[in-house]
């Protein structure tokens, strides 16, 4: 039983909220698969897989619209308040971030096509080292943030928020490494710009995971911590856990 969606006297309300909740899990699964496959397409130089990722983004877009439609219908029919209202608002926010994660995965897949489709000179493999590592890392963040939403787990949400600074550090380190490649071989500058865009896409995915975790704090606590610094968010969470 989900504490946020169940327990209403009107059982169809439980059903509607549960359905909306499950839609988030479904979109998360799709978005994570997209990121994973986009990264694998780069690793395996698999242009077909990259094209499939780009096409599959439409599935996420369709579910994004479906979630919005259900949210509008729920608000119109049920006039949700308190935790029901927070659940619905949180779902709306999370779905928005997941949809953008799907867009970032599509950007990553486009790199594969640019690098390996047709008669182009592929980049030095070492240029791509950081992309795969970072893709794994941010994908776990997305998984954990949505699981925190599913389990109302503030500890896990906080953990994801903390990990975002690791992503930022990794992004900067990767840029430094890339700059050494340019110094050694300025012909790689075109590839390097593309790789930076890929890294930037992954860094944004980490940011979206952080956003989702902050929505979880709002869902559980009713406090909006979106623009608060890390210490303030931590203090808010600790005040619940003690």
């Amino acid at each position: 039983m989900n504490e946020m969606t169940d327990g209403h006297i009107v059982s169809s309300y439980n059903k509607d909220l549960n359905h909306l909740h499950q839609l988030v899990i479904q979109i998360k699964d799709l978005a994570c698969r997209q990121v994973r496959e986009a990264a694998r397409s780069l690793e395996d130089e698999d242009v077909e897989l990259a094209r499939a990722v780009i096409v599959s983004d439409r599935e996420i877009d369709a579910l994004d619209i479906k979630a919005d439609e259900e949210i509008i219908r729920l608000i119109a029919k049920r006039q949700p308040v308190a935790r029901d209202l927070r659940e619905i608002m949180t779902v709306a926010k999370i779905v928005g971030d997941l949809e953008r994660i799907g867009d970032q995965a599509r950007r990553l897949a486009r790199l594969t096509i640019r690098f390996y489709d047709g008669d182009v000179i592929p980049p030095n493999r070492h240029l791509l080292d950081d992309l795969n590592k970072m893709a794994d890392f941010v994908n776990r963040m997305v998984e954990d943030s949505v699981n925190a939403f599913d389990d109302l787990d503030l500890n896990r949400a906080m953990d994801v928020i903390r990990r975002d600074s690791i992503v930022s550090d990794d992004f900067r380190s990767a840029l430094r490494r890339l700059s050494t490649f340019i110094m050694e071989d300025s012909r790689s500058v075109g590839h390097m710009v593309d790789v930076v865009l890929g890294l930037r896409a992954l860094e944004r995915i980490g940011g979206h995971a952080k956003n989702i975790s902050r929505y979880v704090v709002f869902l559980v606590k009713g406090k909006d911590v979106r623009h608060k610094d890390l210490d303030a968010v931590e203090a808010e969470i600790i005040s619940t856990l003690k």
């Binding site: 327990g7 209403h8 006297i9 309300y13 006039q79 308040v81 308190a82 935790r83 927070r86 406090k223």
Partner: protein, 294 residues
Amino acid sequence: MLSVTPDSMGTVTAPAGVIAAGFSPVADDSRAINGTVGDITAIDPRMTARHVNVYYGDKLAINNVSLDIGKNEVIAMIGPSGCGKSTFLRCLNRMNDTIDICRVEGEIRLDDQDIYDSGLDVVPLRAQVGMVFQKPNPFPKSIYDNVAYGPRIHGLTGSKSELDEIVEQSLLKAGLWDEVKDRLDEVGTGLSGGQQQRLCIARTIAVAPEVILMDEPCSALDPIATARVEELIDELREQYTIAIVTHSMQQAARVSQRTAYFHLGELVEVGKTDDIFTNPRHRLTEDYITGRFG
């Protein structure tokens, strides 16, 4: 006859508080009196109730409720049937005096006056603290006489022209003047339900009350008439203090600035309406307003 015993606890033992028993209220350090979650006080209180117990015979209907009603605010009282919200509302102008087996303990003040003072005349009190009921109950008299009745019996006017002025102003404030100005001598009971309720509100404000109590004033009205009364409540707030009991959560959310949630005779939570309906602090409040109550 009402027995008012402000200083005695009576012979009945109060049941264990529902606020703490059997439920898991959210962690909160800011509990006020009697475990009520939230701030029971108002910055500029017009009425103050402290440690109010109400008994119907041996049955404790209100258990140690303390609450301020602030000047120019609308406070909504919500809760399931039998939670004591209407009983508490009726205490505020001693309407419970009409129930023989009812006994009120504790202190309720209007400004600095203890309204349960043994020497207090309840007639002027009920003019100061007026009441609008669930079902519109105009007198079987003309529209004019319905509104003029209060000022006449309270001797508020010295001339017909003064009375005319009060009737017109009251009907204007109640948003009814334009609809009835050409038929003031028609019988009040001939108006539509929504118009009758606004006539009752005009009748209440004709005697210049400080506080208006409303006991589910829209439950017998259609959505349009309800919207008119809600708009009226918002306008009246500038001049009066309003306490409203309602079963409609949306109405409480729409019209009030503060909301008080009652459960089994106890005041569980009180707070800003915006907070109560987005992030209530007590589990009972949340379960009730989200429709989870079994």
